[in-house]
């Protein structure tokens, strides 16, 4: 089952490779011209959108659109096993890309003071990984519910974007938080990570339910 999941993700791996190259270039430009400093960190906010739209949203719906679910789900493995491998590979790809981007941004960013307003806030600790998993899970859920890639992509895009806005509002809802330093901010960050992972788990289970338990069309 893993072979199929990896083989099907080959195209998406190339897509993530493009992001990797893009960020490498961005980081290179930043280190030569200080005017651009911080760009790679700022643009990181869009990466979860890419994960949701291109890693999560096509997984189940592409099978329905091409009818290949009838092939994949009648081999010797259960639909659940099929789904979990797809989910694991998609999320693994998102985590690996996040790890790379985090490292690149970390390398070219000199020491910084972590505050809730800092562009580095979403890039430190477990926060970027939680967003990666959350975005893929959003894509998976819409993919399994709509069974229509275009709709799933749009729903994931707006779903992840709206979640980012809401998260930002929640982080800054009290003035006291703005004064916090790294010593206290980890509490905020771990709360954010826990909420994101809980939501991601709920959405992934929903996606599994709609894949494995509902009748295919």
């Amino acid at each position: 089952m893993s072979w199929l999941a990896f083989r099907q993700h080959r195209g998406r791996m190339i897509g993530m490779g493009l992001i990797v190259v893009l960020w490498g270039g961005l980081a290179g430009m930043e280190s030569y011209s200080p005017v651009l400093a911080g760009m790679s960190a700022v643009f990181f906010a869009y990466v979860p959108l890419v994960f949701g739209v291109f890693l999560g949203a096509p997984v189940v719906s592409r099978e329905f659109e091409r009818g290949t679910h009838q092939f994949a789900w009648t081999q010797s493995f259960s639909r659940s096993q099929w789904f979990w491998w797809q989910a694991v590979v998609a999320m693994g790809l998102a985590l690996a890309t996040t790890a790379y981007l985090g490292t690149v941004v970390g390398l070219i960013t000199p020491s910084f003071t972590l505050t809730v307003d800092s562009v580095m806030y979403p890039l430190t600790g477990a926060v970027p990984y939680a967003w990666g998993v959350f975005a893929v899970a959003t894509g998976l859920m819409w993919s399994a519910i709509t069974r229509w890639t275009t709709a799933a992509m749009a729903a994931s895009f707006f779903g992840v974007a709206a979640s980012q806005f809401i998260a930002e509002g929640l982080r800054k809802r009290s003035d006291a938080v703005s004064q916090w330093t790294a010593e206290n901010l980890w509490i905020l960050q771990s709360a954010e990570v826990e909420i994101l992972l809980a939501l991601a788990a709920a959405m992934t289970v929903t996606a599994w339910y709609f894949t494995a338990r509902r009748n295919p069309a």
């Binding site: 091409r66 290949t68 009838q70 092939f71 994949a72 009648t74 081999q75 010797s76 009748n215 295919p216």
Partner: protein
């Protein structure tokens, strides 16, 4: 042992029943023709048999087990459009089969594709309709299952490709003794390969049984106009003209009346005869109940 057994099987999509109160028992090793008008429930029955759908009522068992989880290793399915991964090469499709099926016969599948002149490096979307069908059927056969379910395997194929596909399938049947369930709405081309018939009509089984028995039991009776022959038979359809009466009938014994002649019927004639009178109360034929001891 029965290959396929349905008891009180029903499947509802929202408000409409695609299948209702289906009782069916197909012995192992048969090549079953599943026929019926469009919308009779053929595809639904097949999808239930391979676990893609779950029944609303009743049960469908494949070799004694419901076709989910582990039991999936016992059935293979080729859907109507032969869905395969278009961007994969033929060799990669074989790899998928090998990784997804513990009993997969990779060498056998390679040989078969070589015999059919299907290049391993070709991408699936480059294959012709016939080659694509052959690849899909090869993958299903190589899974080494006990039951292969094929939904309209011959649709959208030219006559030569139809012949080749059927020949390939029959070779696999001869080698392994597997049970095949295949659907078609062109009955004529099933005549030579199938030995068991299931005719669905409006979500119910109208006729089921071994084709030999069915053909032996049915006759077209022609005789003088305005008369009915004596004897034990049931009329399924009739055609009366001023000059003669034609009866499509199931006989229990030969008609003694010399004024009547009994013509043998082809499978197509029998199927069409039943399709023309879907409200006929002659279903399912008694062969159904007698099958268990034969199996």
């Amino acid at each position: 042992m029965t290959a396929l057994e349905a008891t009180g099987l029903g499947k509802r999509y929202r408000d409409t029943w695609a299948l209702r109160e289906v009782f069916l028992s197909v012995p192992r090793g048969r090549v079953v023709a599943l026929v019926g008008p469009n919308g009779a429930g053929k595809t639904t029955l097949m999808r239930l048999a391979v676990g893609l759908h779950r029944p609303t009522t009743g049960h469908l068992r494949v070799f004694g087990a419901e076709p989910y989880g582990e039991a999936l290793a016992q059935v293979a399915y080729v859907a109507q459009d032969k869905p395969l991964y278009d961007e994969f090469t033929v060799n990669e499709m074989l790899n998928v089969g090998r990784h997804l099926n513990p009993r997969f016969d990779l060498a056998g599948a390679r040989d078969r594709l070589a015999d059919l002149n299907i290049p391993g490096r070709a991408r699936v979307h480059q294959l012709s309709g016939g080659q694509r069908a052959q690849l899909a059927i090869t993958l299903a056969v190589a899974k080494r299952v006990d039951l292969i379910v094929l939904d309209e395997p011959l649709a959208s194929l030219d006559p030569l490709a139809r012949h080749e596909v059927m020949r390939g399938l029959m070779m696999a049947v001869a080698e392994t003794g597997l049970t095949v369930l295949l659907s078609s709405h062109v009955v004529a081309e099933l005549d030579e390969v199938c030995d068991h018939l299931v005719l669905l009509s409006r979500g119910r089984v109208q006729v089921a049984g071994d084709i030999e028995d069915i053909l032996r039991a049915h006759r077209m009776l022609t005789g003088p106009a305005g008369m009915m022959p004596g004897g034990a038979y049931e009329v399924i359809g009739e055609d009366r003209t001023e000059r003669q009466t034609s009866l499509f009938a199931r006989l229990r014994e030969p008609i003694p009346d010399p004024r009547w002649t009994a013509h043998e019927l082809s499978l197509t004639d029998v199927v069409l005869g039943y399709m023309r009178s879907p409200m006929s109360t002659h279903f399912p034929p008694p062969v159904l109940a007698e099958r268990d001891d034969v199996a």
